[in-house]
Symmetry: C3
Subunit: 282 residues, 3 copies
């Protein structure tokens, strides 16, 4: 046996296994969402025409296995089946395997800055073995450039909107906060348009419940909606509250909930990791 | 330190880790379905009486963690609870952790070639952390040999029926096509009996939507059913269309949908792998 | 190239990859539930005040990513939203990513030995990519020490109650048995209070169906409830029967079901492992 050759073969094999292992670990239930290609902002990537390779509907990708598309002129048969208003010609689409909060925060901003309406929001039971949901958001516009703009703004928000989502092998917790809710948060989560709004979510469900209890006791908030495995979810293993109030109270509640959520997850599965890289609520 | 011995130990350790890694990777969300034992056709295995070890109801196994059983004479209490017609004495059962399309294509063939009826089809939310469903199919017959035959035909179809299903860490896409739909596809997916039928499915849902849009624009098809996370699924992260038309158009639509589905998945997670080994729709 | 150095580097790399691989395997869908910290009884851990780190609601943790909490005085707004009776001041909570049976067996014992009522039981679709459910159980009491006691008794039951649950990469099977059902089993699973009760569950669903068929033929049991992907589950890939009868028959049925369940799972994915370490039904 040629030992030199054997040792070289071993080193090559190790390098191949290491690469495969990194990809596998990334896909494991509970691990931080992955982005296979990144650009300057590593939480999303916008594709230039030169990078589309004939896939002209492609706008970009992002954390959570998110794909962003525009369909300038949806097939008429599908248009009718989806019950979309005839005046809407172009669709902008955000579709993710994992998470709801970051995408909804981004979509809320998107509708403030582009001439679109919210056509559809659906929450599949997903997160690739995790405890929560994925999401399908469809914007509608008469003009394709508005639809594209909405998708781009949503993807760009990924730079901050994933920051207060934390996960480990045992579960996840997430908080979101805005001083001024728009149409998406009002439609999906009972936010009062123009008012502060927040959400607290934890999994398994008792993590969300203790987050909610601590938050509601810490600040003067008004709960406008809640979610459990049997209510307002797709049977996810989550407990959530969605709330309003003055912006200081809403922010304080989110901060309080985040703290105990991280502590509870740490006890179950070690220190959870921020999906987006850094928190944004202070 | 005996370097020769150390190098031999390293090589042995690498071989063990490689075997474990293959099994682990196989179980990871989105990886190609596995079959732990194979025979000549590696996508399924039929068990001879000598291999059953007293498990006389066992017919075989297949991709997607599929088990095929016959129950010659189901317990009367369970028979009543499941609401099965009294004249049906024997059941043939196909049950999988992953996928719906391949099993339904095989079952559709099975009912054409065996004296059975379709008793039940249910779609649990499964795929072992993936974005889709598993399946439970129950055939009923007066004669146990008919029930067994239906299960065998379904399993044997796995040699081709998994071929146009593709998956990677980010999601999956699948197309199926037949020139002549039978009872299973008519009952489950609104196929017109005796006519061509196809299905296009992608995950996350926007992958299925762009597949459907491209397909419907490429060929003159009639959509007979569709599915979204909120409709006709168990909250899976999929969009699907089921369609009919003349066989050339249905096949062309499937081919068109497959192409953009593979392209979209590649952007999200690298080139997807055919679950069955090779496509069958050309 | 310094071969000695290279060989040492290879060995070190192998040791690091092995450690990472063990953690990954633990999280993979279908692997035995994990407990990150254990005490004398390794299936659960109770936290003393000194270990709580300010998290005074924390009672303990257990297999299945279970957390046990008490909330002495739930926030009034959440209390109202959850529709909890005003007289209930304190909540005891059991919340798990994986499994239902062990927790319900423990909760059934808990209600026999503490002055609590059953406020809520919900079954999210979970098991971290597996085929079944997680659980959320809420006990209610006027006195926080009763709520705490109920949670402690439930967690302590994990020493035996996980023992007849088996899993591998392909699925799982589980049986439970009691000679004397209490309020939790009566409320959730149609047990007759004070009478023997058992449950048989298997995944994928046909595993549960053959377990049920063999069990019902082996012993004189009365089926009081059943579950399929479409009925009495959150679209899990399971088939279950819940049954009563004299205690000898109920136990015999559970034993019979367990045997064929383990055999079926072995064929699909190799010998399944007992989640709790050792069976308790003999």
């Amino acid at each position: 046996m040629d030992k030199d050759l054997l040792v070289s073969q071993i080193m090559e094999k190790l390098q191949n296994m290491d690469a495969a292992g990194a990809t596998g670990a990334a896909g494991a239930a509970g691990a931080a969402p992955q982005l296979s290609v990144g650009e300057a902002g590593k939480n999303y990537k916008l594709f230039s025409p030169g990078e589309q390779n004939g896939f002209t509907e492609l706008v970009g990708t992002g954390l959570g296995d998110t794909i962003g598309l525009v369909i300038p002129n949806l097939d008429a048969g599908i248009h009718v089946r989806l019950g979309i208003d005839k005046k809407i010609r172009s669709l902008g689409i955000i579709s993710s395997r994992s998470a709801v909060g970051p995408q909804c925060m981004g979509a809320d901003d998107a509708l403030k800055s582009s001439n679109c309406e919210l056509v559809m929001v659906q929450l599949p039971r997903d997160t690739k073995g995790g405890a929560g949901h994925g999401i399908l958001i469809i914007f509608g516009a008469e003009d394709v450039s508005d639809a594209r703009r909405a998708v781009e703004i949503t993807l760009k928000s990924f730079e901050w909107s994933w920051g207060d989502q934390y996960g480990n092998e045992a579960g996840h917790c997430e908080v979101q906060y805005t001083a001024r809710a728009g149409e998406v948060l009002a439609t999906c989560f009972n936010a009062k348009p123009g008012k502060a709004w927040g959400i607290i979510c934890g999994a398994p469900a008792a993590v969300g419940l203790i987050m909610a209890d601590r938050a509601a006791k810490a600040a003067d908030i008004e709960i406008v909606m809640h979610a459990t495995p049997n209510l307002n979810t797709s049977n996810s293993n989550e407990f959530m509250i969605m709330f309003t109030g003055d912006s200081g109270a809403v922010k304080q509640a989110a901060i309080e909930g985040r703290e105990i959520g991280i502590q509870a997850l740490t006890i179950l599965g070690g220190p959870p990791v921020s999906s987006g890289g850094k928190p944004y609520i202070f």
